[in-house]
């Protein structure tokens, strides 16, 4: 049995359904990310796990205990730790008081509170700042206070609601790894909410992609990136070229699918799901910009080889970003920056058939 089970969860605000019959299992010790654009229901789901929202239907079961169906268990009784988007570090209390606030409510001796506080302060690297007020700390330090506060009671579950979104880019990247290694070391079952796909890729064991209150895909970062379940997922995570077309042939033994597009009668693609199998179906032949190969001279013959003209280019330091026009279809390409390409110049593109996937329209 999973450590956290979410069953048929429904949460409505007035008439808007924020979370629509969600089913989700989080395994013990797993770091699971809820990923999606704003308004997709990820934060609402997290708040339902915390008990900060009362769902209209469904149940949340933590460690075998139902939180809703057998009487609503308030957040204070769920044994969870939580990090908030804006830290929620109480400004009228010193760092130390912030950290031990929850611990003081339990019947624990002063001595052991002190010891635990010392441990957690070292763990998050706040030594020497215990007597400061939050107003005297930087954003990153406040964030560590929030983390220490969430961890000090050894919670069964750690919930993180976009905890890094208020930090600057550099610090954010550093904290991703810190949080991940800390949580993994302590083995806490964690649910992490973010709208930042890079963050989700770095931090998660599994990613849950949400859209409009529904789960659209669950999988490891690899699966989500390589085998997106829909155009929405593919578009949200990384960049993707969507070439509209129609299935003209299917080779069921090898997953090979032939697609007719504006510029090609038979574009060779692969199907990653079982739902794109019938000829005549409208699909998107989809390929990521980094999977398109670029040649200045026509290479040896191969599949999916096309001639195009550079419509736009941007130099991004470690690579070139090109828009290549093939018969009025624009293809985004990420090319090595050694290629001295000018706008208007002709070149050859190879849409790697192994990486070119069909997605339902």
């Amino acid at each position: 049995m999973a450590f956290i089970e979410i069953r048929n969860l429904v949460k409505r605000y007035n008439k808007v359904t924020a979370v629509n019959r969600i089913q989700l299992d989080v395994e013990k010790g797993e770091l699971l990310t809820l990923l999606g654009p704003s308004g997709c229901g990820k934060t609402t789901t997290l708040r339902c796990i915390a008990g900060l929202e009362k769902p209209e239907e469904g149940d949340v079961i933590i460690d075998g205990k139902p939180m809703i169906s057998e009487g609503f268990v308030p957040p204070s009784k769920r044994g969870i730790g939580m990090m908030f988007q804006n830290y929620a570090v109480w400004p009228h209390m010193k760092v130390y008081s912030n950290i031990v606030y929850g611990l003081k409510l339990q019947k624990i001796s002063r001595q052991s509170i002190k010891e635990k506080a010392k441990d957690v302060v070292e763990l998050v690297g706040l030594q020497g700042l215990e007597e400061r007020y939050p107003g005297q700390l930087s954003g990153g330090q406040q964030q560590r206070v929030a983390l220490a506060r969430a961890l000090i009671r050894n919670p069964k579950v750690l919930l993180l609601d976009e905890p890094l979104s208020n930090l600057d880019a550099k610090l954010r990247e550093k904290m991703r790894f810190e949080i991940k290694s800390l949580v993994k070391r302590m083995g806490i079952t964690s649910v992490y909410v973010t709208h930042d796909q890079a963050e989700a890729m770095v931090i998660s064991d599994r990613i849950v992609v949400m859209e409009k209150g529904n789960i659209v895909q669950i999988g490891s970062p690899h699966e989500i990136y390589d085998k997106p379940a829909s155009r929405f997922v593919a578009d949200f995570i990384g960049a993707m070229n969507f070439i509209p077309g129609e299935v003209v042939g299917v080779n069921s033994g090898t997953n090979e699918v032939y697609v007719r597009t504006e510029f090609s009668e038979k574009l060779l693609c692969r199907s990653i799901g079982s739902d794109v199998t019938t000829p005549g179906q409208k699909v998107y032949a989809s390929i990521r910009p980094e999977d398109v190969e670029v040649f200045a001279e026509p290479p040896q013959a191969g599949d999916n080889l096309f001639k195009g003209v550079i419509a736009n280019k941007a130099y991004l330091g470690n690579f070139l970003f090109l828009f290549v026009n093939i018969n009025d279809t624009l293809i985004r390409v990420q090319a090595p920056h050694q290629l001295p390409q000018e706008e208007g110049q002709e070149l050859y593109l190879s849409l790697n058939p192994e990486k070119c996937i069909v997605l339902p329209e």
Binding site: L52, S76, K77, Q85, N86, A88, A146, N166
Partner: protein, 560 residues
């Protein structure tokens, strides 16, 4: 720095010097004069702080202030919590009712409660008729009555400031505490209330200062041993006894110093502990809770209770205004319009004076307030912070201090007091900060780039102000204008020292009618008239500002 701004700033400083600094310095100088001699010294102050009587009044006032603050806070906390947090029907109406005392003159409440809770008032008569008591109970004559009436009058300040705090706290602060295991009451005590203290304090200081300002309520209730009342009696009744006069002036100065000190202390403390701006990136409008059935009913009962007390004021005054010979009966039996006839035929000047003086004061207010707000918000003229500071200080100054200082300053020296213009001038000076604060707030909301765009397009500063700023500020300005008018219309503590025959205003008429022969009917009719006029003005604000509360209190505490 443009020359125009400097000129404008010097004009404003001239007004401040003439109407604030000059009279207040005369007040201080007078307080050092020694009776019977030409010399001056600190004798008056020494005597004040050695005389057991004055010390007692000083102590009484502090005790009264503490009690009023305590009572209004105790009653205000649940009220603010209900209004700010519970999702309930009719919240807007209740909020409007409960906050009504803020715009009603204090003396109106006193009269109403005397009629209702007095020795042979409605309450006692009803209880006696029902056979529950044999002798009338003393509900209000005495210290407890003072605390009750002043607490009710100041309740809105507490409720508004607490509600502002409760709605502006980032919800995640409380949610974090909830997750950490703190439930209900403990969370409220350790997180919610402490986070409200800065806004609470801003309201609390005004409440605490009120007994240092209000001389009339104790006087009407037969309690004179409070600083402002003693000062009033000493100065107004014993003008020829120079010693008592000087002691009265000392009492005024002491009151003022207490007020200013506490006011500044509160401001400093609030500045130090500003919690806002610490958390970022929230979209929340504050926590709103769906209360359970028990809480819901209790909160309704509680709101009804407070609203009923507040509503007593206009209802009782109305009953009294439309009747005569309402004595020894729980409710009036003889209905008449006589009171109004008397007011209109015998002293129509009261009403016209009130409108005239408040109107002129208002014009002064706008002519001064708009440029002042401009200078303070939009320019870097040297001394603009000092200007802001002095004007804000006027919030804390007791009205009696301004009345007395004008009396002293503008008889000799600059003889303005011989002309009726002194009345609107005093009203203007007394309510200086009110209009300015609202104009100031509207100005802050006005994005400077809108004005800059006009200037870049080649329009000068003044025409930009006329074409762009003024129309955009209009709403805020109009609300400020009406609030200023209401305040000026009700002003008594300043005007009482300055009026001469023929300059009486409605509040002075109310006071005189009570004072002369206990003409309660006429006083009540005047007070009722006052409430009606105030109410009409409030409706006007509501039309301008949308939502009566938003209009009257400038935002915080409004119901949803």
């Amino acid at each position: 720095m443009s020359r125009g701004n400097k000129l404008l700033s010097s004009l404003l400083w001239f007004v401040i010097a003439l109407l604030v600094i000059y009279p207040l310095s005369i007040l201080i100088i007078e307080s050092f004069k020694v009776s019977g001699t030409d010399g001056s010294g600190i004798q008056n102050y020494l005597e004040f702080f050695q005389d057991t009587y004055y010390l007692k009044t000083f102590w009484n006032t502090i005790v009264l202030s503490t009690m009023v603050l305590l009572v209004s806070t105790l009653f205000g906390i649940p009220l603010a919590y209900i209004l700010a947090r519970y999702r309930q029907r009719g919240k807007t109406i209740f909020t409007a009712l409960i906050l009504l005392p803020i715009v009603l003159p204090a003396y109106a409440g006193v009269f109403a409660f005397i009629i209702f809770f007095g020795k042979y008032g409605t309450m006692n008569l009803l209880l006696m008729n029902a056979g529950l008591i044999e002798k009338p109970l003393n509900f209000i004559y005495g210290f407890h009555g003072l605390v009750f009436i002043e607490s009710l009058h100041m309740l809105p300040f507490i409720v508004l400031s607490l509600a502002a705090g409760l709605t502006s706290i980032d919800p995640s602060f409380e949610e974090a505490a909830e997750v950490e295991g703190a439930s209900g009451f403990w969370r409220f005590i350790t997180i919610t209330l402490p986070l409200c203290t800065p806004t609470y304090l801003a309201g609390a200081v005004m409440v605490f200062l009120w007994p240092f300002t209000d001389w009339l309520t104790p006087l009407i209730l037969g309690q004179v041993d409070f600083l402002p009342s003693v000062a009033y009696i000493n100065i107004a009744y014993h003008f020829t006894d120079t010693h008592r006069k000087y002691m009265g002036i000392v009492a005024v100065v002491v009151s003022s110093i207490v007020c200013i000190t506490l006011f500044l202390f509160a401001r400093w403390w609030v500045e130090k502990r500003k919690y806002t701006g610490l958390s970022k990136g929230t979209t929340a409008e504050g926590r709103v809770i769906e209360p359970g059935p028990f809480l819901k009913i209790s909160s309704y009962l509680y709101m009804f209770f407070i609203a009923a007390l507040v509503l007593l004021i206009p209802i009782v005054l109305g009953l009294s205004a439309f009747s005569r010979r309402w004595v020894f009966e729980p409710f009036p039996t003889y209905w008449t319009l006589d009171n109004f006839r008397v007011i209109l035929t015998e002293s129509p000047g009261l009403i016209s004076n009130s409108f005239l003086f408040s109107g002129i004061a208002l014009i002064f207010g706008v002519v001064f307030g708009l440029p002042a707000a401009y200078i303070i918000v939009r320019t870097r003229v040297p001394g603009k912070d000092a200007l802001d500071f002095i004007i804000t200080l006027m919030l804390a100054f007791p009205g009696i201090a301004i009345g007395v200082s004008y009396l002293l300053a503008f008889w000799q020296g600059i003889p303005l007091a011989t002309h009726w213009i002194i009345m609107p001038l005093a009203l203007f000076a007394r309510r200086l900060p009110y209009f300015l604060r609202i104009a100031h707030a509207s100005y802050l909301q006005l994005d400077v780039s809108l004005e800059e765009a006009s200037e870049v397009s080649g329009v000068g500063k003044f025409m930009t102000f006329i074409n762009i700023s003024l129309p955009l500020l209009m709403k805020g300005v109009l609300v400020g204008v009406v609030m200023f008018f209401i305040m000026a219309f009700q002003e008594i503590s300043t005007a009482i020292f300055l009026y001469r025959g023929g300059w009486e205003t409605l509040p002075i008429g109310i006071y005189l009618n009570w004072h002369r022969g206990m003409e309660f009917g006429i006083s009540a009719a005047m007070a009722f008239l006052m409430i009606v006029i105030t109410f009409i003005l409030l409706l006007i604000i509501a039309r301008i500002g949308g939502g009566i509360l938003k209009a009257a209190w400038g935002g915080p505490g409004e119901g949803k």
